[in-house]
């Protein structure tokens, strides 16, 4: 299990993707799985920076843990609570003019991971669990 605390800034997304990408590589996940984890965590952290901290300074604690064929990334922040479940699923079939620009990140997160779980702890921040199971390599 490894934890790094990153400043909550868009500038850090590269380093955050690198950290979770390495965790997925260490877990011997496939290239597709590594990309999925990186993208899902990027989307989650972008939301934290934008909707939990509203661009104010803060921290995102990123923990990776691989066990029982499952990689769990835990993101903890101390900003405003932001439950991804409160965001409606975007309409992915509407035409160009009607297409919504919001909600895509959360939708992607759910599609790319096996499980996305949000918990709010009084005084201990918001915690988002992003879970990806390693598929058996052929």
């Amino acid at each position: 299990m490894r934890t790094i605390v990153f400043p909550a800034s868009f500038e850090q997304l590269d380093a955050i993707r690198e950290f979770v990408g390495q965790a997925a590589r260490d877990a011997e996940m496939s290239e597709t799985e590594i990309c999925a984890v990186q993208m899902a965590v990027d989307e989650a952290c972008s939301n934290i920076i934008e909707h939990a901290y509203h661009g104010r300074s803060g921290e995102i604690e990123v923990t990776s843990d691989f066990r029982d064929e499952t990689l769990t990334i835990v993101l903890r922040d101390y900003g405003d609570s932001f439950d991804p479940r409160s965001v409606p699923q975007p309409d992915l079939t509407s035409d160009l003019e009607e297409r919504q620009v919001g909600g895509l990140g959360i939708y992607l997160m759910r599609q790319l991971m096996d499980e996305v779980r949000y918990e709010q702890h009084a005084g201990a921040g918001n915690v988002l669990f992003l879970v990806k199971r390693r598929r058996r390599q052929p």
Partner: protein
């Protein structure tokens, strides 16, 4: 992320390299808007050397596409979309919104 812009007779070619995320997507939007300011709305985006694009990049493309298609004055088409980025496009239902070409010459020639 880097964007380089070239103007052809009938369109502009924007070559996007590196990684597009919430940090760099505004730069992509600015590059598209700069071309629009020159009254050019037919744009080819060459994504062949693009390593990564998050939904922030998708949003930049969506907003750009809306501006370019308005009044039927043009559109953004994509060339050499890397496989893993194409897969994310598919997941978000973006593929019907952009014409895609396997090579840049064909994309530029489509205008």
């Amino acid at each position: 992320m880097e964007v380089t812009t070239q103007y052809f007779k009938h369109c502009a070619l924007l070559t996007v390299t590196g990684r597009v995320d919430s940090y760099t997507a505004p730069k992509l939007s600015e590059a598209i808007e700069a071309v629009n300011k020159n009254n050019v709305f037919k744009i080819v985006l060459d994504l062949g050397e693009l390593e990564y694009m998050s939904s922030a990049g998708f949003r930049a493309l969506l907003v750009g596409q809306r501006t370019c298609r308005r009044y039927n004055r043009g559109e953004i088409v994509l060339a050499r979309v890397p496989k893993k980025i194409y897969e994310a496009f598919e997941l978000t239902g973006f593929t019907p919104l952009f014409k895609m070409f396997d090579d840049v010459t064909a994309a530029v020639g489509s205008f």
